[in-house]
């Protein structure tokens, strides 16, 4: 090699920098290809998320409204029953009726305190069972058979 043929420093540095840039560019390019699968997955995920949230809300609303309706109907039935009997027994101030009236008052108090329309209430089921028990107690006091089905089927008291 002739003596003058020494690669100058500047051009060597430039060559190295160029090679590195090329390498990074190619690695970016490969990243793009490798990440393409992730990218497509992510795009599909976004679309599916939007669609799924709408579907979920609709379905959840349907189930929730059914459960809420059943609960509301049951609680409303107990409340109406208790209030009517309270009205009917207002005139009678006998001793034996005072017990009934006290039981009715406590039942009405329980129902009015009960947040029936709040699905996030943690003691929903517990309080509902307490109210049901109290109602059965009141019915037995009033000598009424409370075997009508609590719910939305057509019901009438049987004797």
């Amino acid at each position: 090699m002739p003596s003058g043929w020494v690669w100058p420093e500047r051009s060597r540095r430039r060559a190295v920098a160029g090679a590195m840039a090329a390498a990074s560019a190619s690695s970016d390019m490969f990243d793009e290809i490798v990440m393409a699968e992730e990218r497509f997955h992510g795009e599909g995920y976004q679309e599916g998320y939007a669609e799924g949230s709408h579907l979920g809300v609709v379905e959840g609303r349907r189930y929730g409204s059914l459960h809420g309706a059943k609960m509301g109907s049951e609680i409303g039935c107990y409340l109406g029953f208790a209030l009517t009997w309270q009205c009917l027994l207002q005139k009678c101030t006998d001793e034996k009726n005072s017990k009934k009236r006290r039981a009715l008052d406590s039942l009405i108090g329980m129902i009015q305190k009960f947040p029936y329309e709040d699905p996030t209430y943690d003691k929903l089921q517990e309080d509902l069972e307490k109210i049901r028990g109290k109602f059965k107690q009141v019915c037995s006091m009033l000598n009424i058979q409370s075997d009508f089905r609590i719910g939305t089927e057509r019901s009438s008291l049987t004797f």
Binding site: F40, H41, G44, E51, L55, R61, R62, H67
Partner: protein
């Protein structure tokens, strides 16, 4: 050397064809793989969103359903209490009425549950908004009335077709008068061009002393101006009140 070129081009074409096949297959494979990823992502997204959204929707619906049915339930409870009271005190006359009412309430509750169970439940507020947007001022006609209206319209269609040209755009009515004028202008133009193109040209223009102006530019400009003039005159003639054109048509 031409044979070298041909050989190279042929071989390169072959190679190109192979590459093309391979590339096509690879492309197809790539597309199908990416489509699969897209579908997988879509499914994952739906599942993830549904889990969260179900609870939210449940809470909303629960509140709505409870508020809807509590009054109904209260009415049912009242009727039950009255029924039991009547049984105790022997008021048998009211029993049947109370039982009827209980049946009605029961049926209503069933209907409400059916409505709540339907898949699409628009909120009443949204329905009211959309009805208000429709801006309905009158009720729709009954079935028979609507049919009569349609039958009546069929008779009018014939005459309506005749009138469309007249009624649509007054400015472009070409009655007989306009056509006649247009034909006259074109006849004059044809005669003029005959004179221009034939040997009578020079004698004709010598007499009217515009021989110098017989350049192609002048001829072109003259033609353009003449056409514009004819259009304008026809336009104005056309926009004259309808009576004249009506008479022409009749």
């Amino acid at each position: 050397m031409s044979w070298v070129q041909v050989a190279v081009s042929q071989s390169s074409e072959d190679i190109f064809d192979e590459d093309a096949d391979e590339m096509y297959l690879l492309q197809k494979e790539w597309n199908s793989t990416m489509k699969k990823r897209l579908k997988e992502g879509y499914r994952d997204g739906i599942e993830a969103a549904k889990e969260l959204a179900l609870q939210e929707g449940f809470n909303q619906g629960y509140r709505h359903g409870a508020e809807l049915m509590v009054t109904c339930g209260q009415f049912r409870g009242t009727l039950n209490a009255l029924l039991s009271w009547c049984h105790f005190n022997g008021c048998d006359s009211a029993l049947s009425k109370i039982n009827n009412l209980l049946d009605v309430v029961g049926k209503h509750e069933e209907d409400v549950l059916k409505y709540l169970n339907s898949i699409e439940q628009p909120h009443v507020g949204h329905v009211l908004e959309s009805v208000q947007d429709m801006d309905l001022n009158h009720t729709a006609p009954a079935g028979t009335e609507y049919n009569e209206v349609i039958a009546g319209k069929h008779e009018d269609v014939g005459s309506f077709g005749e009138n469309t040209c007249r009624n649509n755009d007054e400015s472009f009515q070409f009655g007989c008068g306009e056509i006649f004028f247009w034909a006259l202008c074109n006849t004059w133009l044809i005669c003029y061009y005959q004179i221009l193109l034939t040997s009578h040209r020079k004698t004709f223009f010598k007499t009217i002393r515009i021989h110098n102006l017989l350049t192609w530019r002048f001829r072109f400009l003259f033609r353009v101006c003449f056409h514009i003039l004819c259009f304008t005159i026809s336009f104005h003639l056309g926009s004259v009140p309808e009576n004249s054109s009506h008479d022409n048509w009749d």
